[in-house]
């Protein structure tokens, strides 16, 4: 039973590890596209944390059905926040990619250290 209780935290552990992996790519990789991929992993980790919080034991998706006695629903609020955040995430990501494309055109490279050398 103790083990099962520990597994209740597994989602949060995965969140922490994904966050660390994303952050590692952002601070360590010199390739700008790789940095953006790292950033999107970081972002997904945060999404996972929010959606983990919404779960209620024995609940279902928050869509009300007629004729069900005492229904249990998972929390709809984190879902709303993350739903919009995903779409906003892709638009801001593409803004970043657009800048990377322009950097490539101006400097001929997207490796951070070479860009710094060129300046």
């Amino acid at each position: 039973m103790k083990l099962l209780e520990m597994l209740g935290y597994y989602n949060y552990w995965v969140f922490a590890i994904l966050l660390a992996i994303g952050l590692y790519a952002v601070i360590r990789k010199t390739n700008l596209i790789k940095k953006l991929i790292g950033l999107s992993i970081f972002q997904s980790a945060v999404f996972l944390m929010y959606i983990t919080m919404d779960k209620v034991e024995g609940g279902t998706a928050p869509i009300i059905q007629a004729g069900v006695e005492n229904p249990i629903f998972s929390n709809p609020l984190p879902q709303v926040l993350i739903l919009t955040a995903i779409v906003v995430g892709v638009s801001t990501l593409s803004l970043g990619l657009a800048m990377v494309v322009r950097i490539k055109e101006c400097y001929g490279t997207i490796e951070e250290n070479e860009i710094l050398d060129a300046d």
Binding site: L23, K55, P76, T84, C106
Partner: protein, 330 residues
């Protein structure tokens, strides 16, 4: 049983993320990102977030991958290997992120466990939303109700962020590229000469677009809504562009129609709010739109969801075309 499956999926997520960061081939990295998003979508679904799973599958696994690939075609798909002298930096980075991860894991023991019904997050406004949705809006999907009415301000803000990001991309990539640089290979337009993608894709496109329209107009009753519908329809059109070439897609949906959708969608959302004010309510209070407040809510939500769908679809497609056009010019 389902939780064991979830544990398996979460472990796969971590493995995929490590592989994404480790590989030096950016193309492999991007394809793995797509798999990562798909795994994440299944996880969301297991955690009861059907709407979010739908969005993540359409946006994360579909649109993001295509936009990444478009960018890779312009910047080259190989990462330069790290030089020898930088290993110390790597150790420092590993120690820092490892320490951070351990710190967060340590702090999770104070969190309520997964599925705990007494967790603070379930005590605040969420029960009120669940209770009042049938009374105020009279439709089943609480997520749509919160998204478009209870928290309509937030969503208006998000739509404007999407709008602003789209305009930003168009500005940044709108300048004509320098003629010299870039040794990226010029590719043939579309997959016109590949039989299998051609046949399968053609069969799929109408159903993808139809499913998008279904999620748009059925969003009040099942999982779905403007954000998902916009992303799904954009995916369908992008698939068409990949199969037939970008010029054909632009002939089907011209650029000024796309811009009109982005601007018109955001404007439609905002103007519904203003109309609400003119009719004596507060900003984005749809109850005043019709004689019966419930009808007013439903009408308002229908219109603003249409605005959201148009804005998202137009923005994603405009961004895609901006990258694709760049490729053709250089």
């Amino acid at each position: 049983m389902i939780y064991i499956f979830a544990l398996f999926l979460l472990t796969l997520l971590v493995i995929t993320a490590v592989a994404i960061v480790r590989t030096e081939d950016l193309f492999v990295s991007v394809i793995l990102t797509s798999i990562f998003s798909l795994l994440m979508a299944i996880n969301f679904f297991i955690l009861d977030a059907a709407d979010v799973a739908l969005t993540e599958a359409a946006v994360g696994a579909g649109v993001t991958t295509v936009i990444f690939l478009c960018a890779l075609a312009l910047t080259g798909d190989q990462e330069k290997p790290q030089k020898e002298g930088q290993n110390r930096g790597q150790k420092v980075a590993l120690v820092v992120v490892g320490f951070l991860a351990l710190l967060i894991i340590y702090s999770t023991f104070d969190n309520p466990r997964l599925g705990d019904p007494d967790a603070p997050v379930h005590q605040h406004v969420a029960p009120w939303y669940l209770e009042k949705t049938p009374e105020y809006m009279d439709f089943p999907n609480v997520v749509t109700a919160i998204l478009s009415s209870f928290r309509g301000y937030d969503t208006l803000g998000e739509v404007f962020v999407v709008f602003a990001a789209c305009i930003g991309v168009l500005f940044i990539l709108g300048v004509s590229p320098p003629r010299k640089s870039l040794q990226v290979s010029v590719r043939k337009s579309g997959l016109r000469h590949h039989l299998i993608p051609q046949v399968v894709g053609r069969l799929l496109i109408p159903f993808i677009v139809l499913f998008g329209l279904y999620t748009q107009f059925h969003g009040e009753y099942g999982p779905g809504g403007g954000f998902q519908a916009g992303a799904l329809i954009a995916t369908g059109v992008i698939l068409y562009a990949l199969l037939e070439g970008e010029a054909e897609a632009l002939r089907a949906v011209p650029r000024r129609v796309l811009l009109g959708m982005v601007v018109g969608g955001a404007l439609l959302y905002g103007s519904v709010g203003v109309v609400c004010m003119l009719m004596g309510g507060s900003f984005l209070d749809y109850s005043v739109l019709a004689a019966d407040p419930v009808w007013g809510q439903q009408l308002g939500i229908l219109i603003i969801e249409a605005g959201v769908g148009m804005a998202v679809c137009g923005a994603l497609l405009s961004i895609f075309h901006a990258f694709a056009a760049r490729e053709r010019l250089t």
